[in-house]
């Protein structure tokens, strides 16, 4: 018994059958004695169609109008879900983001939530309604419709759970939770029962496409526990929490993979202040996102500087940097696509030594060459040849015992 926020993505509400299933689940949750707030995305495909229409109208659609246009997708879906609940004997109303009291800054297409005034939601809950809120959107103080950017509906759900002091927040998706690795690559990847916000954040940054980082960051900031679970099956998913004491027993929680990377190495960079700054300011001025950066220690007065980026941005980076090599007095530049990133993530790393050595050893035994290494407090990432990524994932997953129940498999 308590207040539960449930979020359903575009695939879950993608057709009439899906919407009926969502309605049934909402009503079942209500009938189990809970207060229920639903957050829904636009029906799958609707947003893409609206974007296509806007681009036909204008090569560069006004962002304010783009928001007003795209917000209609979630508004329509929330009305349909409320109808579907009412059709099976429930009592539901839909609210746009604005009506739900979600106030944002005025930055169109990527607005930030300033605060939430959940007065109307609370009134409707008190009148025994299931409240269906359109995800992904809010309203600026000036009254303009704003949208929250990619993954915005997850953020709506987490933020509402925080504002309403919900007892639980459930993120329904087309997978049944967060896995120890991509099951298409590692067939014995298993569902993770419990994960820390920080781990989920690192995984999102490392290529695991479960939830957008912004929503997880918000959950972390406001201490919102939530569960990622399947909208198709009624089985427990993955619970994300601030951090449970026994979480550190697990050294590595998951292996994340990111393909389509490129690697640039500038050799013989003079070891003097300003060289690295010069290189990356040129790149960031072109809005190219750099991921991993590694610099070898200087012993001869020069260093080698390597970094990775998405292969789609490789051509522009290469073109910008080529003239710079001689300008800063570096020796040469090598640049290559066809690489990928493998990361092991786990908050247990903080207190357990030997993770790096075990990772490097298992990759070495498998004959996988490590091209670049980067670490954070709870993550070790390596760059390998993309052709070797699947094998690398499989041996790493096995080496850290992720397939079997984790409590018994950890050292």
């Amino acid at each position: 018994m308590g207040l539960i926020v449930q979020k359903y993505g575009g695939t879950s509400v993608g057709n009439v059958d899906g919407m009926r299933r969502v309605a049934e689940r909402l009503l079942a949750t209500k009938r189990a004695g809970h207060e229920v707030v639903a957050v829904v995305s636009a029906m799958a495909g609707v947003t893409d169609n609206l974007i296509k229409l806007a681009r036909e109208i204008s090569a560069q659609p006004t962002e304010r109008e783009m928001d007003a246009l795209l917000a209609t997708g979630e508004q329509g879906a929330s009305a349909l879900i409320a109808m579907a609940v009412n059709a099976i004997g429930g009592k539901a109303v839909s609210l746009s983001g604005a009506a739900a009291g979600i106030v944002t800054d005025g930055v169109h297409t990527k607005a930030k939530i300033s605060h939430i005034s959940p007065r109307q939601i609370n009134e409707l809950l008190a009148e025994d309604y299931i409240v269906v809120v359109a995800g992904f959107q809010g309203q600026s103080r000036e009254g303009a419709i704003t949208t929250l950017g990619r993954g915005g509906s997850d953020l709506t759900a987490i933020a509402l759970a925080a504002a309403l002091k919900a007892d639980d927040c459930q993120i329904f998706t087309d997978v049944d939770g967060v896995h120890t690795c991509d099951p298409r690559v590692v067939p014995d990847a298993s569902k993770i029962d419990e994960i820390a916000h920080d781990e989920l954040l690192e995984m999102a940054g490392a290529g695991s496409k479960v939830m957008q980082s912004r929503a997880v960051e918000f959950a972390k900031k406001f201490g919102v526990g939530f569960e990622v679970r399947s909208s198709m099956k009624d089985v427990p998913g993955t619970r994300a929490t601030a951090e449970a004491p026994n979480m550190e027993d697990v050294v590595v929680r998951a292996v994340s993979l990111e393909r389509n990377q490129a690697k640039v190495t500038i050799c013989g960079v003079p070891d003097r202040p300003g060289c690295a700054g010069r290189i990356f300011s040129v790149i960031s001025a072109a809005n190219v996102s750099v991921d991993m950066i590694a610099q070898s220690a200087s012993t001869t007065g020069t260093t080698d500087l390597s970094f990775t980026l998405h292969k789609d941005e490789f051509a522009i980076a290469e073109k910008l940097l080529a003239p710079l090599v001689s300008e800063i007095g570096a020796a040469a530049m090598t640049a290559t696509t066809g690489v990928a990133k493998l990361s092991v993530v786990g908050i247990g790393m903080r207190s357990h030594a030997g993770v790096a050595s075990r990772l490097f050893a298992c990759l070495g035994e498998a004959g996988v060459n490590i091209q670049l290494i980067s670490t954070s407090e709870i993550k070790i990432a390596v760059v390998v040849d993309e052709a070797e990524l699947d094998r690398a994932a499989q041996v790493t997953h096995a080496a850290f015992g992720l397939a079997t129940p984790r409590s018994s498999a950890q050292p």
Copy 2:
């Protein structure tokens, strides 16, 4: 120079080319020195698709949610039109009905406008924007999205013109104005240059599908002059005004036609109080709309009572009335479909005699039998065999000289 409200229907904004044309016209109007407020309907087909989706979800969708769903159609179209204006160098913003300050009662799917607070529109106009308002919708005092029912976008335009004290209101459609008769029936039907609100109202009630009665009633009530004109051609349309002094020079303004009617006659109804009431209370209890009603004078202690209704409601009316005939002591009932209504409309009738005789004479000469007659102050309607309607329309149109310029052809 002044403030102009322009309304564009679903066909005008039905595709990208149409939306570009609308944007060009808005910008041209603005550049001619006017302040411009646009009111737009949903893209043709969008509303029907949403209704279809809702009916798949629920046999009887919640009206509140239906409004929230359907309102997205106009919201999307208004955002796209604003984008299209901006794409060609103009400066436009879209507003939902709620944001435009349109406050309605809480009667979902057929809300009435309570008042309009045009503060935000005025501010945006002062900042030199073209303001594009989503038609057909408003917001109740409780904050729920409401819609205004069929033809609601026309009403939005007229109501905004009144609230903003606009200098003109232009209703753009796919025809180039109001005609003296349906040009598919009477090929030499001509466009009417000026018409009185009352005439347009009678025509709408008599089957001419130019504008919904509610919008015209609102225009009449608040003295809003408007022009019905083509969105495809830049030619003057039909001006509707309260009433110009010289309007009465024209005896008959137009011939309106309505097909698919049915006629019921109950013969030998005892001429005592309560019989007619009994008949029509049975019918209205079943939500059947009756159009014309005629009762012959009583000479023998009984009367004959006839009325017309839409043929789709014929079966239910017949079923309800059959047992009633003997109950009230009437002689018999005859009921037939395959009839149609022809009406001549014109405020000049008030001061000119002889309209009825001329109408009946021309129909008689053409061998068209008149089955029922009903009159109002500015209209005479007759029921004829549906198979004879076209011919009846042609001879009537000719008899009142409507094809040729009207000033010279009138008696």
